[in-house]
Symmetry: C2
Subunit: 336 residues, 2 copies
């Protein structure tokens, strides 16, 4: 693991992105990769950069498209088409369009079809919350999990994010429907760890606590048995219906390449309808209560989702952002 400053990370990644994108877009896309890692979401930050460059090289993601196009709308509800363009750039556009609409209509939803991978769900919730809004965003993805009740890749590890404005720094929950990401299982396997309960099937089709076996089978289950499975199916069906976009079934298997996701960006404007000072005060009471509880089993207790974000940023500002050496080498090579 090496440590790089946010500024250096942006500058290096921008170089590689300039092969596909105009200067401004390349710079901002580099900021998104670096920013997600800066916020501590390493799984959806700089480590995804080599793969995203590959997707732009292969055409799976169309680098010529950096803005979505409006398809239809009524009041606060609009459908947009991303035309397989640059996922995170278009996702930011969708989130900010929802903010703009919520200012006028109180609540808004941008349903976006055919977007490429948006990297980190929480980013778009945070953008809304930083604009004073409450946000709910979700996306579908390819069939990279097995639904509860079968042993076949059949549902997506769909993330959902809830975000809220807070004076001391916005709150954000960013949660996919599996207990662990495959990336996390891989790390556990490298360390020789076993799981405390089975989260998928091994290559023989048996429920397994062996993270390496679950990675090899590709048969990870959603979290919480039937509950995560149901949530995955409903996110898929709702996002594809509202946008008239692809379902997990039409996006396909991970090996098909993950292209053309359906995404939903819901944005609500609390300051237009309630006293935000009073709302902030009672939110702080809950956070103080949770933070004040005695930790169980030597842990760190309870924090509100996203509450430690500023601390993580401060640490990365001071020490640099940790990046795997292999990833950093790819970043440098891509910029040459």
């Amino acid at each position: 693991m090496i440590y790089v400053s946010y500024e250096e990370a942006v500058a290096r990644m921008e170089k590689g992105l300039r092969k596909y994108l105009p200067e401004q877009e390349a710079h901002h896309f580099a900021e998104i990769f670096a920013g997600n890692s800066f916020d501590g979401v390493h799984s959806h930050g700089m480590n995804r950069y080599p793969r995203y460059l590959g997707d732009m090289a292969s055409g799976l993601c169309d680098a010529k498209v950096t803005r979505a196009e409006k398809v239809s709308g009524l009041g606060g509800l609009e459908v947009w088409d991303a035309h397989f363009g640059v996922g995170p750039l278009i996702a930011e556009q969708a989130a900010m369009r929802a903010v703009e609409l919520a200012k006028e209509h109180g609540i808004a939803c941008v349903a976006l079809r055919n977007n490429s991978h948006w990297l980190r769900a929480g980013r778009y919730g945070l953008m809304m919350a930083d604009a004073g809004m409450a946000g709910i965003c979700f996306t579908n993805t390819c069939m990279n999990l097995t639904a509860y009740g079968v042993k076949t890749p059949s549902v997506g590890n769909n993330p959902i994010t809830f975000a809220l404005p807070r004076e001391k720094g916005s709150l954000v929950m960013d949660m996919a429907v599996s207990q662990y990401a495959y990336g996390k299982l891989e790390i556990m396997a490298q360390k020789g760890e076993t799981l405390d309960s089975p989260v998928g099937y091994d290559t023989k089709g048996e429920l397994s606590c062996d993270p390496g076996e679950i990675c090899r089978s590709g048969l990870m289950l959603p979290m919480a048995k039937w509950k995560g499975s149901a949530l995955s199916i409903m996110i898929d069906l709702m996002s594809s219906m509202l946008s008239l976009g692809r379902t997990a079934l039409t996006i396909g298997k991970p090996s098909d390449g993950e292209a053309g996701m359906s995404q939903v960006y819901i944005c609500m404007n609390p300051a237009a309808v309630i006293d935000m000072d009073a709302a902030q005060a009672q939110m702080e009471e809950t956070i103080e209560f949770l933070n004040g509880l005695e930790p169980a089993d030597g842990g760190s207790g309870v924090h509100a989702p996203g509450q430690n974000l500023e601390r993580t940023r401060e640490k990365h500002r001071r020490e640099g952002i940790p990046v795997a050496e292999a990833t950093w080498e790819k970043i440098l090579a891509a910029g040459e």
Copy 2:
């Protein structure tokens, strides 16, 4: 267990409710209790009737209030106050107000403060879906779970529902943030069953697979470790912020009586922005795919959430609704 027809259940419960409510409201509230059981959601149907009568008798629920009052609004976002009135009647009003607003604004949200228990979350999502809308509803509740990381009642077993219109019968996911309800754990304990993984703490503060012990301690954990815990906290903070209503902390512990919840009813109007025939067709493709997968381990495979609702209704139409004898006796006694 005895079996009663929907009509008889409504007639009997209406009698007891007439002590608190005018004729029309009593009849409809009886339909809600019976209807939830008719739909197979026994945990939030007729078995809750004795307790709800008790709450109206004690004044925890104010039976004089059967309609909410509008507090404020901008476009599709409105805040209403239920003034501790009759939960499910007011919840239906809120859901239908959201439908009305979504017809005009494309998307709407009614944020409702101070409502009594709404019984079954899925009911309000289904109402929206049956009106051709996509719905997302959630509520907070009292601190009846221990947050992940502590051993103190501190977060609520908050339900969230996603619903979608479907020609063959609306889809609905109705999911609280714990793996099991306390009522389910009680039934497992009576049968002498043990859990396959710990879902809470025993009375000595140790993680436990003993459902009876977890009921006694009152220290059930949210599902999926930190994930269910985070979802619970965000549902609580978002519903209380948008409505400027109570948080789990101010609603209190279960022993305080569960009064004055904060609820969110989000409603989206897909037919206004996309081709619903095309959306229905691609939804059916996914449902057919899921239904066609080979079941694992002798189970029943995968269905879309709510897909079996009509089958359950047909069974109850044919055989009657199963009710515990003790519950039915209380229903009869309350009507005398």
